[in-house]
Symmetry: C2
Subunit: 364 residues, 2 copies
């Protein structure tokens, strides 16, 4: 099948580019003696996860038990749930998976440790704990070294759980690589007191798990990091291109759409809206627009309805015709893939593979 | 099962409220001799569609062939695709459905009519055409009466399609009902020239299909309307409450979440983010915030990550504890339900029904 035979809207993943992105990050990690633990939330796909593992990833990161279930069922044996597990039902699911996979959970509260401990003890398994440290993003994570020490000691004191190390997420660093050095230094200033406290307390920290695609290839500048958890790196998106993380040729994802209405030049409508792309705004730069139209540099995706994308083509040499197709790089790849049950792996014009978004839809 | 036994995040639909909303709109339409053709994009659920039909709806509105397929397979026999169909594959699907259901399509281009005509003629069926008229929303729809007449004549000239009437969507009217009168008058000023042109041309207009939840109970003030297509009315959401379309007690949808982190008072994190609620901004009022927290009037949903909701509880008498649950009215019900494979129908504290979001995930 060729791309021309696909109906729209369809998400296309360029397999050559995907493979190249996966290899490039694996090479970077190998060169810097870092473990690579890709975040599966981006693709939620067993097929892509296995490509990442085949390229040298040590295991996977997930955000929720549904994703962990899917990946463990596919035989993946080393999974970090980078999300606080605080309900008995979720903890029981993680404990069940720990019978066949190495399971770790990142958390920042005593309630989460107690919850995991109860489930693990009931199941007769061990679950590793990473204590999340806030390094400036101000989402989850403890700030004070005495708090991370207290959680580590609690984990080592309780049945079924053990302290394995620390996790942090530099989600606030979205600037171009050339501007990241002072921000990374600030992260290090926040991390080092934790390291010093653990050394003073004589508690070994075997894992320090860092982020994230925007900072991924600067990870060797983060003090003490042993593994990283980028997700978007395998695909990139308009956010990543905007801050210079890769070139347009290194972006593996586009959304294929058809123009369905063009009554007026300034309101050309395509058949992808917020239920195709997601409503995620551009999270960097001028925060404007909802996609990058390939081959039409003056066309702007100015808004979404649920199934309509609103294009401003008033500055284009010609407006697209009804029935014409466009390919558009979405703002946020994780959110876009999450809208679809399947995406299409392409090479050139050929549709080579249907990639199932296996862990989508189950929100828990 | 009770709500307490549900894991989070879970979307709850209050069945008493849902039934009452469905009945109230049906009563309004009955009183004003309007046909009610609810838009199924909101729920994508056969169960809810059948409740609407049982209450007197004349048929359903859908946005895409996947939704039409699902509803026709469930035995629903009168379906309007309120979306321009311009690809051969989609037209063929609509034509196939026309063998067992009364199918109509709204459109605004000769290309769409030709596309439908080819498919209908090949299938040996008839498909009704509604010509979409732009009445100020500036999305799809022709503006000039000569264009709507030309499309109607084209439809009547071509095989397999017939002109049935006009459709419009007042998507720009999002103000409180008390402020809608001048906006509705402006819509009428745009509609009337079309009616006059059709009268002069001797072309009967048997259907005039209007919108939409914000204006639904003002529909008798729109000139010539014979049917309306509200979707959100059955559930309401934060957008609708903000403009006074119903009270909080008339809102059937909430999202049940658990607090997973509360290291600092000003950053309490819940386990629902953009992949649970959608990233849809508040489309009215001050456009701020991502949900309405029940029972915590001073808590604000200030931002989303994919699986994290960021609550500002700094003005609350006390911050929610880790493990505590909240119920939150989402900004946009259609977008929220679309994130989930199933939602939970409740009465009081009891979970009475699992409502499958049947037509979700298939984006075409």
């Amino acid at each position: 099948m060729t791309i021309d035979e696909l109906d729209t809207p369809s998400v296309l993943v360029d397999l050559d580019v995907l493979e190249s992105n996966i290899k490039r990050m694996a090479d970077y990690c190998h060169q810097h003696h870092l473990q690579l633990r890709p975040h599966a939330k981006t693709h939620k796909s067993v097929v892509v996860a296995k490509m990442q593992l085949a390229a040298g990833a040590c295991g996977l990161t997930v955000a929720k038990p549904d994703e962990a279930d899917m990946m463990a069922a596919a035989g993946i044996e080393d999974i970090l749930v980078a999300y606080p597990i605080v309900t008995a039902r979720k903890a029981a699911r993680i404990a069940k998976l720990a019978e066949r996979a190495k399971m770790r959970v990142a958390l920042d509260s005593i309630e989460a440790i107690e919850c995991l401990s109860r489930a693990a003890a009931a199941q007769g398994v061990d679950i590793g704990v990473l204590v999340e440290v806030d390094i400036g993003f101000a989402r989850c994570g403890v700030g004070r070294p005495e708090d991370s020490i207290a959680l580590a000691r609690a984990a080592d004191r309780m049945r079924g759980v053990r302290f394995d190390g620390l996790m942090f997420y530099p989600g606030h660093i979205k600037s171009p690589a050339s501007e990241q050095a002072p921000l990374i230094e600030e992260v290090n200033r926040r991390l080092i007191p934790h390291y010093e406290a653990f050394t003073a307390a004589g508690i070994p920290v075997s894992i320090v798990s860092g982020g994230s695609t925007p900072t991924a290839v600067q990870s060797h500048h983060f003090k003490g990091v042993t593994e990283i958890r980028p997700g978007m790196y395998a695909f990139l998106d308009r956010n990543m291109l905007t801050i210079g993380v890769g070139t347009r040729e290194q972006c593996a994802i586009t959304v294929l759409v058809t123009i369905v209405s063009n009554v007026a030049r300034s309101r050309v409508i395509m058949d992808g809206g917020s239920k195709t792309f997601s409503y995620d705004p551009l999270s960097v730069g001028d925060h404007r627009g909802y996609g990058l139209v390939l081959g039409q540099p003056h066309a702007e995706v100015i808004g979404f309805s649920e199934e309509h994308g609103h294009l401003d083509t008033s500055r284009c040499a010609r407006a697209p015709r009804v029935g014409e197709r466009l390919r558009i790089i979405p703002n946020h790849v994780c959110a876009t893939i999450n809208m679809h049950d399947r995406v299409f792996g392409i090479r050139g014009d050929r549709v080579e593979q249907i990639i199932h978004v296996d862990a989508r839809g189950g929100v828990q």
